[in-house]
Symmetry: C2
Subunit: 255 residues, 2 copies
């Protein structure tokens, strides 16, 4: 028995989310269909992060078990020929036995892109949230400080299904940087943590934007966190600004 | 009588080129329709560059005459509400009498984006030409040297309609730079010249790629230029990698 990991980029606007669902076009469904065609047998995969409908990925990691030899380059070429437009397999690697993309992950990095100001983005329209006002990056950075470290992030979790499950997560990085991409000005919020609750990044972004537009003071964010109540935090930012950027594994996961 | 200049960004994949044509969805047609709705009268516009179908613009300049007062900000908002998806008016300015976007332009800057290697681009798929092999940037830069300065660019002109018209153009910059955009690796060819023949940038790029993939030696490009014959140069690169980036006017054009 061997374990393989695919690194997968996708344009979330074309899919009803990552996780396989009957009757819906999902990233995982597409990849499993392509694997079945390429390998001739049904394959069950595990993804590192279950991104919502509309959320993109630059390097989602998808693992599966397979009990025969595989030519990684050939499989990558086949999958890229078989998967629909909107999915690109950027790598295929043999992993140690016991590896699984979700439980083995140590950290996830998400990036959220905003375009501020009165003029809508063009080339970035599919990949950024257009916030029609200016953004006070200093206020946003000050507010972001209160999120670092280990906290109960209940206020930033959308799913009711999380009831009774642990809601503590540890954030290592929340940084905010202006970036010009394809000639258009944007602001990137980069968030790295051990794991994330459902929609957590999008509620964090929606709340940070409340402080960046002056609707809330930077101190409000730590109060929202302490409240452990979804209604205390800001709105959920739209999915199309968000990209699962990178997943980190311990060194021993790389053969 | 006053003259106004719009700065316009557009996604070329949604249009049959810039120039107005009966029965086709063009950028100029869209803008003129929006101006007619906003101003209540038919308006004839002039664009700085007649980009082909599929070619994008970050800052196309479109001028028109108007014999009444205009609130620039209000007009910009109206146009952005009226034009179809794929066009964004990024600025509206009052210009000196006599200004016209095409004849007044001193220089145009185009950028062409390539994605080299076996893995196709995802986020850049609409904005870059995927060249499946590696690219030798040194060979490409060496070849590009022969294009600088004033030359007869007949070998790099696609249109037969250019017969009898002047074919000399002056290139000031041809530089080639790797750039990572939205997490994807690309190579940007930046070309600045006083003016361009039909499809000239795309034939230059197609020819530079011949040298970058080793199919031609760098010296071949100066021979192709000297031949003054379209068949001596390389293929025409696809339109979707190309963006009209910037148009430069003399200082006295800015009020």
């Amino acid at each position: 028995m061997a374990v393989f990991a695919l690194t997968v980029a996708y344009d979330g606007s074309r899919f009803s989310g990552f996780a396989r669902q009957p009757g819906a076009e999902t990233v995982q469904g597409c990849i499993e269909d392509a694997l079945m065609t390429a390998l001739g047998e049904k394959v069950v995969t595990t993804g590192a992060g279950r991104t919502d409908a509309g959320v993109h990925a630059l390097a989602q990691v998808v693992s599966f078990e397979w009990d025969a030899e595989l030519d990684s380059h050939k499989l990558q070429r086949s999958l890229n020929a078989l998967t629909s437009e909107g999915i690109v397999v950027t790598g295929v690697r043999l992993m140690p036995v016991g590896f699984s993309a979700r439980p083995s992950a140590m950290a996830r990095e998400y990036r959220y892109r905003l375009v501020p100001g009165p003029v809508p983005p063009l080339f970035l329209a599919r990949y950024a949230w257009w916030v029609r006002s200016g953004l006070d990056l200093r206020a946003m950075r000050q507010a972001a400080q209160s999120l670092l470290g280990e906290h109960d992030f209940t206020s930033f979790c959308v799913a009711a299904s999380a009831e009774g499950k642990p809601t503590c997560r540890r954030l290592e990085v929340v940084d905010i940087t202006p970036e010009t991409v394809l000639g258009e000005h944007s602001v990137v919020i980069r968030i790295v943590g051990n794991a994330f609750l459902h929609s957590m990044v999008r509620v964090i972004v929606g709340s940070l934007v409340e402080t960046a537009t002056g609707r809330r003071a930077p101190e409000w964010l730590s109060e929202a966190l302490a409240a452990r109540d979804r209604s205390a935090a800001g709105p959920t930012a739209p999915p199309h600004g968000l990209t699962l950027w990178q997943v980190t594994y311990p060194d021993e996961c790389w053969l």
